[in-house]
Symmetry: C2
Subunit: 328 residues, 2 copies
DNA sequence: TGCGTGGATTAGAGCGCGCCAATCTACTTG
DNA sequence: CAAGTAGATTGGCGCGCTCTAATCCACGCA
C-alpha cells in the first residue's frame, strides 16, 4: 500500500479510499491509483483490513459432512448469496461428532467471523448458546430452545400433510410409514404421520415400520410388508433412499408400483428424478434455505433485533410411483 | 490478551507463548494463564495472529458447485484432513463461470491463504499461472501445461482400460460408447475408448454416440441404438447418469440388461449403489483425491520443491449390469 | 564467593490496514 | 475580494497479535 501510494504520488489514506471504492475521490486520482495498484500487483490484505475495521466480511458455516448432498445443497445456497454480496465462507465440518463440531465452531470464532450458520448441529445447546452470545448465529434444521439465534426449519408437519392429502385423495386408506429413526426429521415425520392418519379417521389403518434413512432399511421394510397377510396400498418412506429400497424390494418380488402399491419418498434427491425411478416425493428448497439463512444472518449482523424463526414450506412433487389403489 | 496478562500477572508475550503451546514455559505459569484465559473467555484473534506471523493456517478451495456431489466429496476429503491438521478452509465457488471463479480466487488471495486448491478449474491457464506465482497451488482434475502447480488427476486411460478388459474378457466385441462431450474427462474417456478398441483389434466394431453427462443423453442414446438394425452387446457410458438414462431407455423398450446388453458406467456415484440399479462402474477415490491435494499443498508450503503430478488410479466395481453376451 | 549456563520471561517494534480529525483546495456568493 | 462551503486529501494512531533480542533468574561448579 505504501508502495502504491508513493508510486502514485498520493498518501496511503487515499489509496485506502480508492481500494474501498469510497466516494469523494477525484476521478483523476482514482484511476491513477488503480492503474498503479494493478501494475504493481497490489492486493489489499484482508487480514489487516479486518483487524483495523473490526469487520471480516466472512461468515462461518458449520455442517456435518460435505459429502452428504443434503448439506452440500444448503452450503451451495449460502455460498451463492455470499459471493453475490461479497462475503466469504469459512467452512468447518463436524464429521458427525459433536466434539469435532465444537472444535470447528471455536476455530471459526477465532477468525472473528461476522456470523455463523449452523447446519443441523449436533452440539449441546449450551455450546450453541455460548456462541450465540459472541456472534450472530443462524441454525438450519434444528430447533433448540433457549438460544438467541435465528432459525430456518422445515415444516415437516406440512410436508407430511401434503403426502397424506395426496394419498388419501387418490383413495388410499391402508397406509404404512417406514420411519427414519432418530435422524433429523425422522421423529417429526413419524408423529405427523400418525396424527394425520388419526385426523383423517384412518388411525386404525396406519402402520409404522421402524427404519433409518438408508436404502437398506427400505429393502428390509419391503420384506417385512411382503411377509404379512395383506399389503398396504401405499407406503410413505422417511426419505428417498428408503423409498428406493422399497422400490427395489417390491420390484424383486414382482409387486407392481404403483399398480399394487403406491410409494412416496421425501427429499426429492438425485434419485427421485431418474426417469426409471420417477418417485413421487416431497421437495425441500435446500438452496433457498441456505440463502435464507445467510439473509437472516446478515440482517442480524447490522440490525440488532430479536431472533426470528423461518418455517420453510416443502412442496409435493408428483411423479410415477403413486396412483389410485386397485379397484378405485 | 492484555487483560489476561494483567490478570495472570505476566507479560503479554508470555500469554502469547502459552496460547501457541510453545515449549519453555513453566508449568505453573502455563496453567495459570490458561485458567485466566478460560475464565475471561479469551479467544486469540486469528486475524491479528495471521497478520503478525504471516501465516494464516488457512487454505483456499475453489470449486464449481458445492451442490454437485462430485465436488462435495472432494471438498469433504480436503476438509477432513484440514481439520486434523488444524487448518481452516476458505471456500469459493465458481457457479460454472470462469469469471466468477476468477473473482473467487482473487478474494481468497486477499485473505492471504497459505495455498489454494483448484478443483476442475475453468479459468484460463494464465490466471492460474498468475495465482501460482503468488502462492502454492494444487489443481485437481484438470491438466494445464506451463503452470508451476501440483496436479492430482485421474488416470482416465486406466479407468477405460479396466472397463474394456472387463467387457472384452466377458466376450464382448461390439461395444458402444456414449461420450461426455467436452465435460471434464469426456474427451479423455472417448479417446481412450477408441484407442483401447483399436489395440484389441476391435476398432471396426467400436461405436461412439455423442452425449453429455446427463441422464437425458443416456436416454437419447438408448433411442438411437434401438433404432439401429443391430444392438451392441455392451455400452460404456461416460458416467453413471448417462448409464442410468440408458438403463431406463432399455428397460422401457423391454431390452434386458445385462441379458441382451451390458452397461458400464463411470463415477460410482450414489445411484450406482442402489440395489435395483446395481451398476457396474468405475470408482474414483474422490475423498482421497481431496486429502492428497491438501497433502501436496501443505508439503509445498513448507518445502520449496518442483511441482509434482499425482495420477490417481481408479478401480472397477463389478455389479449386476454386465454379463457375457448372449451365446457365450 | 563469583561466574557461567540455559531455561524462563519480557520489552518493544512491527504486521498492513481503517478511521478520525485536521488540513487543503477549488468554487460560490454577497 | 474576502469569507464561506463542500469536497478532496492527509497524518497518525491503534487494531491484537508474533517475533527478536535482551534481560532475568536459579543453580551448579570451581
Amino acid at each position: 500500500m505504501e508502495d502504491v501510494a508513493r508510486e502514485a504520488g498520493v498518501s496511503r489514506a487515499l489509496v485506502s479510499l480508492v481500494m474501498r471504492s469510497q466516494p469523494n475521490v477525484s476521478e483523476k486520482r482514482r484511476t491513477r491509483v488503480l492503474e498503479v495498484a494493478n501494475r504493481l500487483g497490489y492486493r489489499p490484505n484482508a487480514m489487516a483490513r479486518s483487524l483495523a475495521s473490526r469487520r471480516t466480511k466472512t461468515v462461518g458455516v458449520v455442517l456435518d459432512d460435505l459429502r452428504n448432498p443434503f448439506f452440500g445443497e444448503i452450503a451451495g445456497g449460502v455460498e451463492e448469496l455470499a459471493s453475490e454480496l461479497g462475503y466469504q465462507l469459512l467452512l468447518g465440518a463436524g464429521a458427525r461428532q459433536a466434539r469435532r463440531e465444537r472444535a470447528s465452531l471455536a476455530t471459526l470464532l477465532e477468525y472473528r467471523v461476522d456470523g455463523v450458520i449452523l447446519v443441523s448441529p449436533r452440539m449441546r445447546s449450551a455450546d450453541i448458546a455460548a456462541a450465540a452470545a459472541e456472534v450472530p448465529v443462524v441454525m438450519v434444521g434444528r430447533q433448540v430452545r433457549g438460544v438467541d439465534a435465528d432459525l430456518v426449519i422445515i415444516d415437516e408437519h406440512h410436508g407430511t400433510e401434503l403426502i397424506l392429502d395426496h394419498l388419501v385423495g387418490l383413495g388410499h386408506e391402508r397406509i404404512a410409514h417406514v420411519d427414519g429413526g432418530k435422524g433429523a426429521g425422522g421423529p417429526q415425520r413419524r408423529s405427523a404421520f400418525l396424527r394425520g392418519m388419526r385426523d383423517r379417521r384412518l388411525g386404525a389403518r396406519a402402520r409404522v415400520i421402524p427404519g433409518d434413512f438408508t436404502e437398506e432399511a427400505g429393502a428390509a421394510a419391503a420384506r417385512v410388508l411382503l411377509a404379512e397377510p395383506e399389503l398396504p396400498t401405499a407406503v410413505f418412506a422417511a426419505n428417498d433412499m428408503v423409498a428406493a429400497g422399497l422400490l427395489g424390494g417390491f420390484d424383486q418380488a414382482g409387486v407392481e408400483v404403483p399398480g399394487t402399491v403406491s410409494i412416496v419418498g421425501y427429499d426429492n434427491n438425485f434419485i427421485a428424478h431418474l426417469a426409471h425411478v420417477s418417485l413421487t416425493t416431497v421437495d425441500q428448497p435446500r438452496s433457498d434455505m441456505g440463502r435464507m439463512a445467510l439473509e437472516l444472518l446478515l440482517d442480524r449482523i447490522d440490525n440488532r433485533r430479536p431472533s426470528v424463526t423461518r418455517l420453510v414450506e416443502p412442496t409435493l412433487v408428483v411423479r410415477s410411483t403413486t396412483a389410485p389403489p386397485r379397484g378405485c
